[in-house]
C-alpha cells in the first residue's frame, strides 16, 4: 500500500517539468553543505533567502512573460526605477502615510511600465526582445533622472518587516509561499490556460477564441508589477537607493527561468520551477565563494548548469529510448 503510494507520487514527480531542476538543486545543496560547515544553520539559510528574495519575485514575473511566448529585458530597470522612487519619496523621517503613498506610487510606476511594454508588443506587434531592450533604457533613464547620485534612506519601520519572522517562519519564506499560492490560483483560472495556449501555439489559441492580444498584454503587466514588488523588497532589504541597482538582475531572472525548466520557446514550465531555479543560481554563487576560486568560475558554472538543464530531458529520452529498443 505504502509502496504503491510512493511509486504513484514518484511517477507524478517524474512527469513534472522541474524534475531536473530539483535534482540539480539537491546536488548543489550536497556540494555546498560539504564545503560550508554551517550551511544548514538557520543563519546561513535565512541570509541566503533574504539575499535572493527580490530575484524570486522578478523571475516569477519573467516566467509569466516567457510562458506566454515573450521575453522581458526591462525588468531590471523597473527594479531600479521603483527603488529610486521609493527612496526619494520617503527619506529617513517619513511618516506611515508617506511610506504608503510612496509604495503605491512605486507599484503603480512598475505596473505602468509593464503596460507600456505590453501595449507595444501585444497591440502594436513590436518584437518583444527589441521593445523591452529599448524600454529598459527608458526606465533606467527615468531612474537616473529621479536619483542622479546613489544615496537616500528609508525609515527604520519600513525595513523592519524584512527581517521579521512571523510565527517563527522567516519573512522571505512567507513571501515565497505567497508567490506560489498566487501562481497556483492563476494556473487554476482561465487566464492560466490562456497563457499556456498563447505561448504554445498562438494561432491555435486564436482559433479557439482565446483573446491572444490581451493575454500577451497582461503577461507584461504582471511582469511589471512583479518587478515593482521586487524593487520594493530590495529597498526594504538595503534601505538605500541607486539608479543602477537593478541593472544586474535582468539576466539572472531569465537564467533562473531556464534553470527552472521553463523553455524559452513558451507554452510550458511554471513558477514553481523558477523558484527552484533562483536557488540553484544562489547555491552556485555560494559554492563559488566558498570554494575559494576566482569569481569568473561563477559565469562558467552558471553556463554549464543552464546547458545541463537544457540537455537534461533530451538525455533522459535518449536513455529511455535505448532501454526500450
Amino acid at each position: 500500500m505504502k509502496a504503491a503510494l510512493n511509486s504513484g507520487l514518484l511517477r507524478r514527480l517524474g512527469r513534472q517539468y522541474f524534475l531536473f531542476s530539483l535534482l540539480l538543486l539537491i546536488i548543489g545543496v550536497v556540494v555546498n553543505a560539504s564545503l560550508q560547515a554551517n550551511f544548514f544553520k538557520p543563519i546561513a539559510l535565512v541570509g541566503l533567502l533574504r539575499t535572493y528574495l527580490p530575484l524570486v519575485l522578478l523571475a516569477a514575473g519573467q516566467t509569466i512573460v516567457i510562458i506566454g511566448g515573450g521575453i522581458d529585458l526591462s525588468v531590471g530597470s523597473i527594479v531600479s526605477m521603483v527603488n529610486v522612487i521609493l527612496v526619494t519619496r520617503m527619506g529617513a523621517e517619513a511618516t506611515q502615510s508617506q511610506v504608503l503613498t510612496a509604495v503605491a506610487l512605486g507599484l503603480l510606476a512598475g505596473t505602468l511600465a509593464g503596460a507600456l511594454n505590453g501595449a507595444c508588443i501585444a497591440f502594436l506587434r513590436f518584437q518583444p526582445l527589441v521593445t523591452t531592450f529599448a524600454t529598459s533604457s527608458i526606465f533606467a533613464g527615468i531612474a537616473v533622472w529621479v536619483l542622479p547620485r546613489p544615496g537616500g534612506s528609508v525609515p527604520e519601520f519600513f525595513m523592519q518587516p524584512y527581517r521579521s519572522a512571523p510565527l517563527g517562519i522567516t519573512f522571505p519564506l512567507w513571501v515565497i509561499l505567497g508567490v506560489a499560492l498566487v501562481w497556483w490560483y492563476l494556473r487554476s483560472t482561465r487566464f492560466g490556460r490562456y497563457l499556456y495556449a498563447t505561448g504554445g501555439d498562438a494561432y491555435a489559441a486564436y482559433m479557439s477564441a482565446v483573446p491572444v492580444e490581451w493575454i500577451r498584454f497582461f503577461s507584461y503587466v504582471a511582469s511589471g508589477l512583479m518587478a515593482a514588488l521586487s524593487g520594493l523588497l530590495l529597498t526594504m532589504s538595503i534601505g538605500t537607493g541607486s539608479a543602477l541597482i537593478g541593472l544586474d538582475m535582468t539576466m539572472p531572472s531569465i537564467v533562473s527561468v531556464v534553470l527552472g525548466g521553463t523553455a524559452l520557446s513558451g507554452g510550458g514550465g511554471g513558477v514553481i520551477g523558477t523558484i527552484l531555479g533562483v536557488f540553484i543560481l544562489a547555491i552556485i554563487r555560494n559554492i563559488i565563494s566558498f570554494a575559494n576560486v576566482p569569481s569568473w568560475w561563477q559565469t562558467l558554472v552558471n553556463g554549464l548548469a543552464v546547458m545541463l538543464i537544457l540537455a537534461g530531458p533530451g538525455i533522459w529520452a535518449l536513455i529511455r529510448g535505448r532501454r526500450e529498443a
Binding site: 487554476s188 482561465r190 495556449a197 504554445g200 491555435a204 489559441a205 477564441a209 482565446v210 507554452g267
Partner: protein
C-alpha cells in the same frame, strides 16, 4: 438542440487580384448532411472559411434562420452555433486533451477557479464516443503531442462538439482517420442528424460522400454550379459537374519516343509516415506529373526523394541502389528540389539575387571565392531565365512572385541537375511568367534533365506532362498517359474513384 438553417448567398472573395470565390452558394438545414465538393482551387475551403467566420467575404450575404448575420471572428460564428472542425489542427501541442477541448470556453466557479473535475468528467464522456477505435486508450490528461494524427483529429472533432453546435462543419475531417474511426464518426453523424444538427461535410473521398450525404453542392472555379440530392447524381455525373466542358490544350508536343529512353530513377515500395508503397520510374528527358488533391503525399514524395524526410523502400539511380539520408546526398547525385513555399524554404528574402542564385554552388568557386566567375555564371542563368531585374545585387523581396520563383529554379540550374523535383512551382505566378517557365522546362528536358513535377493546377499537368501519377491517401491510384491523360480521368482518380 437549437435548430438552425444556414444559407450563404452569392459570396465573393478576392485575394489580391485572384478571385478565390466568384459566386458561392450553400444551404444546409437541420437534420441534414450537405456535402461540398469541387476540384483543387474551386473555392470550397474559402466558402467554408467565410461561413465559419475565419475570413470576411467581399460580397454576398449569410442568413441564419432567414436573418442576415455578419461574422467578424470564428468566435462570433461559434456563439451562434456554427462550429468548424478545421483541417489545420487548432490544438496546442503542449496542453492536455481536456485543456484543449475546453480552451476558450472553460467552466468556471466563483472566483474564476476552473471546474477542473467536471470538465475532466465531460471530456471522458466525449472521449467515450470514440472508445475502442483508437490504438491507445485516450485519457483527458494526455498531452496532444503524444497523439497520432488520427487521434488528434478525433480530439479536434470532440472539441467542436463541446461547443454544442447547431451547424457543424467537417472540413476533410476524415482525411487522417482510419476506416474504423470513419465508421464511428458516420454513426455519430446519424445520431446528431436525428437530434436536429445541420452538418456540412467536405471530403475528397467520393465513397464517403455517397455513404453519408443527403445533398451535394458542387463548386467549380469559385462558383456553385449545382446543389442536388445525392441520389439524383451518379458518380460520373458528379465528376462531370466538377470539371469544365473544355478540353485542355497541350502546350508541349507529346514525346512518345521517351518511353524507351534510359531509366534514370526507379523507386520501389517507398513508404513514409504518409506514403504507402510508392513505385515509379523516371526516364531521361521525361516530364512526369504528380496530381491529385492537395496534401495526398505529393510533397512528401518529393521530399523523400530529396533525402529531406526519412523513408523506407528502395531508390535506384542509373540502376544502382542509393540511400538518400540528407539533402546533401541527393545533391551529390545531382538531384535538385524546388520547394513550394518559396519564401520560407527556397529563398533568403533580404539577400541579393546573386547570393540566392549561388547559395548551393559556392563550393565550386574556390577559396577565396572567384567572385567574378560567379557573377558571370549567375548573369548567364538570369538572362536564360529572362529574369526581370535592375542588377544582380537587387534584394529578392523587391521581385515579383514569378521572378522570385525563377530565382528558386535558377539556383539549382547552376548545379546542372539530372533530376529536378518541383513542388507546385507556379503557385501564385502570373500567366506570362508561367509560359516562360514552361519554356524553360522544355529546354531542360531537351538537354536530358528528367523532371518530376507536382502541381495543384490540373490544366498545367495535362498540358505539360508525358505521364501523370495521381496520388490519393499516400498511394498512387492511377498512372495516366496518352489518351487517358484527360481532365475527367484526372479528377476521377483524384477523388479515389475507379470509374
Amino acid at each position: 438542440m437549437n435548430e438552425v438553417s444556414l444559407s450563404a448567398q452569392h459570396l465573393v472573395k478576392h485575394y489580391g487580384g485572384v478571385v478565390a470565390l466568384a459566386d458561392g452558394n450553400l444551404e444546409v438545414n437541420p437534420g441534414e448532411v450537405m456535402t461540398l465538393v469541387g476540384a483543387n482551387g474551386s473555392g470550397k475551403s474559402t466558402l467554408g472559411k467565410i461561413v465559419t467566420g475565419v475570413v470576411a467575404p467581399d460580397g454576398g450575404r449569410l442568413l441564419l434562420n432567414d436573418r442576415e448575420v455578419i461574422f467578424r471572428t470564428p468566435h462570433a460564428a461559434r456563439e451562434l452555433g456554427i462550429v468548424a472542425v478545421y483541417q489545420e489542427l487548432s490544438l496546442v501541442p503542449r496542453m492536455t486533451i481536456a485543456e484543449n477541448i475546453w480552451l476558450g470556453h472553460e467552466w468556471e466557479r466563483a472566483g474564476g477557479i476552473l471546474r477542473h473535475a467536471e470538465m475532466r468528467q465531460r471530456t471522458q464522456e466525449l472521449l467515450a464516443l470514440f472508445e475502442g477505435t483508437t490504438h491507445n486508450h485516450l485519457d483527458p490528461d494526455m498531452p496532444i503531442s503524444a497523439l497520432s494524427p488520427g487521434e488528434k483529429q478525433i480530439v479536434e472533432i470532440l472539441k467542436a462538439l463541446s461547443w454544442q453546435p447547431s451547424v457543424l462543419f467537417l472540413d476533410e475531417a476524415t482525411a487522417s482517420l482510419d476506416s474504423r474511426q470513419v465508421n464511428r464518426l458516420f454513426d455519430l453523424i446519424q445520431d446528431w442528424k436525428r437530434q436536429g444538427m445541420a452538418i456540412v461535410f467536405i471530403s475528397h473521398r467520393l465513397d464517403e460522400i455517397y455513404r453519408i450525404a443527403d445533398r451535394v453542392t458542387v463548386l467549380r472555379n469559385g462558383r456553385t454550379v449545382a446543389a442536388a440530392p445525392i441520389n439524383e447524381l451518379s458518380k460520373q455525373e458528379l465528376i462531370n459537374l466538377m470539371i469544365e466542358g473544355g478540353v485542355a490544350t497541350r502546350t508541349n508536343g507529346k514525346h512518345l519516343e521517351v518511353s524507351t529512353a534510359e531509366e534514370i530513377l526507379r523507386v520501389e515500395s517507398l513508404s513514409t509516415t504518409t506514403l504507402r508503397a510508392i513505385n515509379l520510374v523516371l526516364r531521361r528527358g521525361e516530364l512526369v506529373g504528380l496530381g491529385g488533391l492537395q496534401g495526398q503525399g505529393q510533397a512528401e514524395l518529393l521530399l523523400a526523394l530529396f533525402g529531406a524526410i526519412p523513408y523506407s523502400g528502395q531508390i535506384y539511380l542509373y540502376g544502382r541502389p542509393v540511400v538518400l539520408r540528407r539533402p546533401q546526398d541527393a545533391m551529390r547525385h545531382q538531384i535538385a528540389y524546388v520547394p513550394g513555399e518559396r519564401n520560407t524554404a527556397g529563398l533568403l528574402p533580404i539577400q541579393s539575387i546573386l547570393d540566392n542564385l549561388l547559395l548551393p554552388s559556392w563550393k565550386h568557386y574556390g577559396f577565396p571565392l572567384r567572385i567574378r566567375q560567379a557573377q558571370a555564371d549567375a548573369m548567364a542563368i538570369a538572362s536564360g531565365l529572362k529574369l526581370v531585374m535592375a542588377n544582380l545585387d537587387q534584394p529578392i523581396n523587391t521581385l515579383s512572385g514569378g521572378n522570385a520563383q525563377k530565382v528558386v529554379l535558377g539556383k539549382w540550374l547552376l548545379r546542372r541537375p539530372q533530376i529536378l523535383l518541383l513542388d507546385d512551382p507556379t503557385k501564385g505566378v502570373d500567366v506570362g511568367t508561367k509560359s516562360e517557365f514552361y519554356k524553360i522546362l522544355s529546354d531542360l528536358r531537351a538537354e536530358g534533365t528528367s523532371i518530376l513535377f507536382y502541381s495543384t493546377d490540373d490544366e498545367e499537368l495535362l498540358g505539360l506532362c508525358d505521364r501523370v501519377l495521381v496520388l490519393h491517401d499516400g498511394k498512387i491510384t492511377a498512372e495516366l498517359s496518352g489518351e487517358r491523360l484527360v481532365h475527367s480521368e484526372l479528377v476521377a482518380a483524384a477523388m479515389g474513384s475507379s470509374t
